[in-house]
């Protein structure tokens, strides 16, 4: 029964921090041990709940950063200034500490390795997280589905998964867009994603690619509008908005 499956999926489970890696000075990948995890699709997210000693609770959504790996679940959290949950998770939160997690949530913003169409990924800042899960799922499944990633970030130092993305992968094309500061030696000036960027770096509309766009709200709106203006079928554009834009 679908209904039963859903309530099992959405039970809160206790997760403990098993390891972590700093992606940038303000973003941390957290790897949890999560016994009983039912598995997920690349692109889905979870809810994370923290409880204070007096019973107060705060709950936020975070995308899964990696494909299924048994009882291990990986998230990458960007520290937001004055952020109630992100400051704890990227700061004092230590190995062995518990949190509660439920999920996976969101079967729409999800990619399955059996999908044959080419894929366009457009990331703004921490919006790379669920898209990285798709890139990793593609590799794990050993499929050759053509992928393009357009990754917009403020400065080169803010890039997540830098080593992994630097290693070339056949059939995965990456274009970086820098909005504040360019890498050493790269010609041009910083700019935001625009019609010219997408016209050059995205698949032509007639390829029928499925596009996944993720990032701050304003970024997602802009990128989705441009794709539509370039003739992409709106039904093949899937979006995930992480929240307020600070850029």
């Amino acid at each position: 029964m679908a209904r039963t499956a859903v309530s099992g999926r959405l039970a809160w489970r206790v997760a403990r921090l098993a390891e972590f890696r700093d992606e940038t000075p303000t973003a941390r990948t957290l790897v949890f041990d999560l016994p009983g995890w039912p598995g997920h699709l690349a692109g889905q997210h979870v809810d994370v709940r923290l409880t204070a000693a007096d019973g107060y609770r705060a709950q936020r959504s975070y995308s899964l950063a990696a494909p299924v790996n048994g009882d291990r679940v990986e998230l990458t959290v960007q520290r937001v200034a004055d952020g109630e949950v992100s400051e704890h998770l990227t700061g004092p939160y230590a190995i062995g500490d518990p949190v509660e997690i439920r999920g996976p949530i969101g079967g729409w913003f999800a990619w399955r390795p059996t999908n044959p169409e080419p894929v366009l990924l457009i990331a703004g800042g921490s919006g790379i997280v669920p898209l990285m899960a798709m890139i990793r799922a593609r590799r794990a499944a050993g499929v050759r589905t053509p992928f393009k990633l357009i990754y917009s970030l403020r400065t080169p130092a803010e890039q997540y998964y830098a080593d992994e993305l630097r290693t070339p992968v056949a059939g995965l094309d990456i274009t970086y867009v820098y909005t504040r500061e360019l890498p050493e030696g790269r010609p041009g000036i910083p700019k935001r994603i625009d019609v010219a960027t997408l016209n050059t770096a995205a698949w032509p509309a007639e390829f029928g690619a499925t596009s996944f766009i993720c990032g701050p709200t304003a970024f997602v709106e802009t990128a989705a509008d441009i794709l539509q203006a370039l003739g992409h079928d709106p039904h093949r554009i899937r979006t995930e908005r992480f929240g307020p834009s600070r850029d």
Binding site: R3, L50, A58, H88, R241
Partner: protein
Amino acid sequence: MGVVTPGFQGRARSGNPRLPPGQYLAEDFPVLSAGPTPRVRTETWEFAVTTEKGDKHTWSWAELMALPSEKPTVDIHCVTQWSKLDTRWRGVAVDTLVGGLDTEADYVMVHAYGGYTTNLPLADLLDGQAWIAYEYGGKPLTPEHGGPARLLVPHLYFWKSAKWVRGLELKTRDEPGFWENAGYHDYGDPWREQRYQGD
């Protein structure tokens, strides 16, 4: 009580009685939708109500504008945990559109331009609880926020307030809409934190 995360204190407790559990006050007006923003022109806009017997009633934009409007000021609550208090809207009460219809339906499937759907009980759209809203804060509703017109059902989580609304399908059976099919709650009461099926 859940499992305590050592060292987590959380923000000062607001205790604002108008905030449902787990919600925080948003200053801006965040956007949540599953795809790109459809741009719907009022020249071709049409709103339809169909009954379970297949009777269809339609309104053009001009016809909607000619109906008596109301100006509700309401609090809204999004499942992604922001709430906004005292938002000002203008629109046509759903009572005005379905009031005179011959129907035994208990449920409604709301349809939107762009293909989005959401389900809710008909009773929750009547008695001055819901509107087809076309102004926000004294200005025409912008496309990001569902313009030219969206459903406004402020007492339920805001995904029920379908943006770019194009019609109401009255039904005798409840069936899940877009987010509800993806595991979100069929009813969505923010005061009971009905986020997902089973909550």
